[in-house]
């Protein structure tokens, strides 16, 4: 029964996948089509070939992992070497299409006006549209959603619009614009007019004409020739004028170069880079000290209510971080926040700008993160302390070791020998602790002189987010991804060092 259901779900998904794959190829996305084809073939092999039986279990998890972990990482690397950003969101093909579809209204001359007023009405009984141009010519037609030629004739009195049809509003016409734009209306004189505005038709001419045997475009108004420039991602003329929109191109390592050389980027980037390390190190250090201290204080057999203390101490860790961060943001508010109010009550009447002053903002981030993070270290240290067998302490006592000596030569070495992986893990976590910064200060206050949205408390990951998704200064996907690549390398190095130190590789080879 279960088997039948599983197999039918699988087959439905499989055929849906095949359909999707053909759609990708039809849409011209060759690479993605090939990837999905590989996935489909692989799936088929694994579920039909009995020799691949173990992979039937492995495969589903491995597939989502590849699609939403491995491919995004590869894709991020690719984007990091492009200039994908505001003004460069489209491919060259798309930009070519936009430009070659751009039209203009030729200047009017004596016998041919450049634009024509029109009215449009709908005959709801036949679903057809009635068109009348400047009261002179008219016709009835049906919207097919395809390109068509419609001939207009001299209006016979009271025939078209006048026949008690209310003209469509400009808003209604606007909604029909895409279908209307497909139609060539042929006037009795033989000239062709097309949809131009919601109240105007015009004899439109395509502005940019493709040149033969090249990718260049010729501007029919100015007669300038624009060729695609694959360094800057623009169609550029000889005298360095470019057309918008631009397209995305591979820019090599120039994102990285800019981060390290560009005047407005370099200073803030280096500052953020240093602060990210400082922030992660200090966060780990402070929360470890407090967590260990508390674990040592609570870990005494003679202490009543030990279990209660433990639960109360990990409450900060149990609350979703985004909630705690926002609560602290309110409490640290300079003008209304409870913390400044309590300080005033205690006699400190100078209001501290907790979140707006470069130094205090950093202090606030660290303090709040200490509040969030110490219970983790408390839990870990408690676990380590509990794993020390009672007999070790008894033996020490027999040998006449005092309490301080026991602590110094048994408890502390015990903690330090087991804590390292947790400290490294915590470092890696805080290195990318986006919520811990962004929800408290938003990365602010801004760094003076920065040309991007860089802030004094920004860490690399929040800077990445702001570059990519906070539109105030444009969206820089390319540069954001190149920073993500750097984070990736740093985390990899830290992780590998950690694995090597803790001997996990050896264990697995066993």
């Amino acid at each position: 029964m279960v088997k039948a259901i599983l197999w039918s779900i699988l087959s439905i998904l499989y055929f849906a996948g095949i359909y999707l794959c053909t759609m990708f190829f039809n849409g011209g996305h060759l690479l993605i089509g090939v990837i999905s084809l590989v996935v489909i073939v692989l799936t088929g092999i694994i579920f039909i070939n009995p020799k691949a039986y173990p992979f039937r279990f492995m495969y589903p998890g491995l597939l989502t992992f590849s699609l939403f972990m491995v491919i995004p990482i590869i894709f991020t690397v690719y984007i990091g070497f492009t200039n994908l950003s505001t003004g460069h969101f489209l491919s060259q093909k798309q930009v070519y299409e936009i430009l070659t579809n751009e039209v203009y209204v030729p200047p009017s001359s004596e016998n041919t006006p450049s634009t024509f007023q029109y009215t449009l009405a709908k005959d709801s009984s036949t679903e057809s549209y009635l068109l009348e141009i400047e009261g002179k010519w008219s016709t009835a037609f049906v919207l097919t959603g395809k390109a068509q030629n419609i001939n207009l004739a001299e209006t016979v009195a009271n025939q078209a619009i006048a026949a008690n049809k209310t003209p469509l509003s400009r808003g209604d016409i606007y909604n029909l614009r895409n279908e209307l734009a497909l139609i060539d209306f042929i006037l009795p004189s033989g000239s062709i007019v097309k949809y131009f505005r919601t109240n105007l038709l015009a004899p439109l001419i395509y502005r940019y004409a493709p040149m033969e045997n090249s990718e260049a475009l010729k501007d029919l108004i100015t007669n300038k020739v624009y060729t695609p420039n694959y360094q800057t991602g623009f169609y550029t003329s000889d005298n360095k004028e470019h057309l918008v929109p631009g397209f995305y191109v591979s820019v090599g390592i120039s994102n990285f170069k800019n981060l390290l050389n560009d005047q407005g980027l370099r200073g803030p980037f280096i500052q953020i880079f240093i602060w990210t390390f400082l922030w992660a190190l200090l966060s780990v250090f402070t929360s470890f000290c407090l967590g260990m201290l508390l674990a040592l204080v609570v870990n005494s057999k003679k202490l009543a209510l030990r279990a209660v203390y433990r639960v109360l101490l990990i409450i900060p860790y149990s609350i979703p971080f985004f909630i705690s961060m926002l609560v602290f943001k309110g409490m640290l508010n300079k003008d209304f926040g409870i913390i400044n109010e309590m300080l005033a009550f205690a006699g400190i009447t100078d209001k501290i700008n907790w979140l707006g002053d470069p130094l205090w903002a950093k202090v606030s981030c660290l303090m709040v993160n200490l509040w969030l993070g110490f219970p983790y270290m408390f839990l870990v240290t408690t676990g380590i302390l509990q794993s020390v067998p009672e007999s070790v302490y008894e033996a020490a006592k027999m040998d006449g070791a005092g309490r301080f000596a026991t602590f110094k030569s048994i408890t502390l070495p015990m903690i330090f020998s087991a804590i390292a992986p947790f400290l490294v893990g915590s470092f890696a976590f805080n290195f990318n602790n986006f919520v811990g910064i962004y929800l408290l200060t938003g990365g602010g206050p801004p760094i003076a002189g920065a040309t991007t949205a860089a802030g004094e408390t920004d860490i690399l990951i929040s800077y990445t987010y702001k570059l990519a998704f906070e539109g105030g200064m444009g969206q820089h996907f390319g540069m954001a991804s190149s920073i993500a690549i750097m984070i990736f390398f740093i985390i990899t190095a830290v992780t590998l060092a950690n694995f090597k130190a803790s001997g996990i590789f050896k264990e697995e080879r066993r």
Partner: protein
């Protein structure tokens, strides 16, 4: 002599109690403060610590129940679907947790029981990649979902299923945890079942799965908590107000007007925090032992 030592120990214990109580007062202050604010009818950001009288107005606000404003007397109904956000969060987290369990148990089983080519490599890859938080690929996720949305609108940006899809990349850590547990279940149980005519798959879901209920519960709850608490992915991927998860909705709700919505925000925080906090505290003992295989969230 005997008595003196006894006294010294008592003093030490007393000192420990005093130290812990003093520290707990500081540590739990924000929690107590936010509870007090949620019950304070004025509830501005600068309200006194202990309200002069209590009211449930803020609670009515976030639950969408109309109430009469105490100072102006007008009837107020919240224009923010806060309960909807909570529901969205729970929905996304439940489905994510379920699918992650489904995907990672089968993979973990294969890694634990079968020997096949590429097994060791798979294990290494899983171990290394589980260290990377998915947010590093945020630009890629956004562009990928934008692309998928052109073909499958229900999986694009601004959809819950699209968001869930992205979370499914986070299976490695869970595979790792579950595999460790499967390794402790003796193979002989399944082998005898297979001898008796059970298929491999039946042995898996009739014998191994029920035996691993504890670890499955912990992994499921951790996935639920992690998804519920995530801020960055929903904030990138979700655009329309009625699709927000609590994390995104509440952030926008409070950031727009910090001082005037403080009371309502406090109530919303408690509603969002209690289920997660309770879940976490109920499994924290398992987490201590699970922690030894890698960092969970800290």
């Amino acid at each position: 002599m005997e008595k003196k030592v006894f006294d010294k120990k008592q003093i030490e214990i007393l000192a420990r109690h005093l130290f812990l109580i003093a520290l707990l007062l500081i540590i739990l202050f924000p929690v107590l403060y936010i509870i007090s604010i949620s019950l304070n009818p004025t509830g501005g950001i600068g309200s006194p610590l202990i309200p002069s009288h209590f009211s449930l107005d803020h609670w009515k606000y976030i639950l969408g129940i109309p109430y009469k404003d105490s100072s102006t007397g007008e009837i107020i109904v919240s224009s923010f679907p806060i309960m909807r956000w909570l529901f969205n969060s729970i929905k996304v987290s439940l489905i994510t947790a379920f699918l992650i369990l489904l995907l990672s148990t089968t993979s973990a089983y294969a890694l634990s029981r079968f020997s096949f080519q590429g097994r060791k490599t798979s294990l290494l890859v899983l171990m290394v990649t589980q260290m990377f938080p998915s947010i590093m690929g945020m630009v890629a996720f956004y562009l990928m979902l934008n692309f998928i949305g052109d073909y499958l609108p229900f999986l694009g940006t601004d959809t819950h299923w699209g968001l869930i899809l992205v979370y499914l990349g986070g299976t490695p850590f869970n595979i790792w945890l579950i595999k460790g547990y499967f390794d402790t279940i003796p193979k002989s149980i399944e082998e005898s079942a297979i001898m008796d005519g059970c298929s491999r798959f039946q042995a898996f879901y009739r014998i191994v799965l029920p035996l691993s209920a504890p670890i499955l519960a912990v992994v499921g709850l951790l996935a639920f908590i992690g998804t519920f608490s995530d801020f960055i992915l929903p904030s990138i991927l979700l655009k329309s107000q009625d699709k927000f998860t609590l994390a995104v909705g509440i952030q926008i709700f409070i950031s727009e007007a910090f001082s005037s919505r403080w009371g309502q925000f406090a109530a919303a925080c408690i509603v969002g925090a209690i289920p997660i906090s309770a879940l976490f505290l109920s499994i924290h003992k398992y987490i201590i032992s699970g922690l030894t295989s890698g960092g969970i969230k800290g």
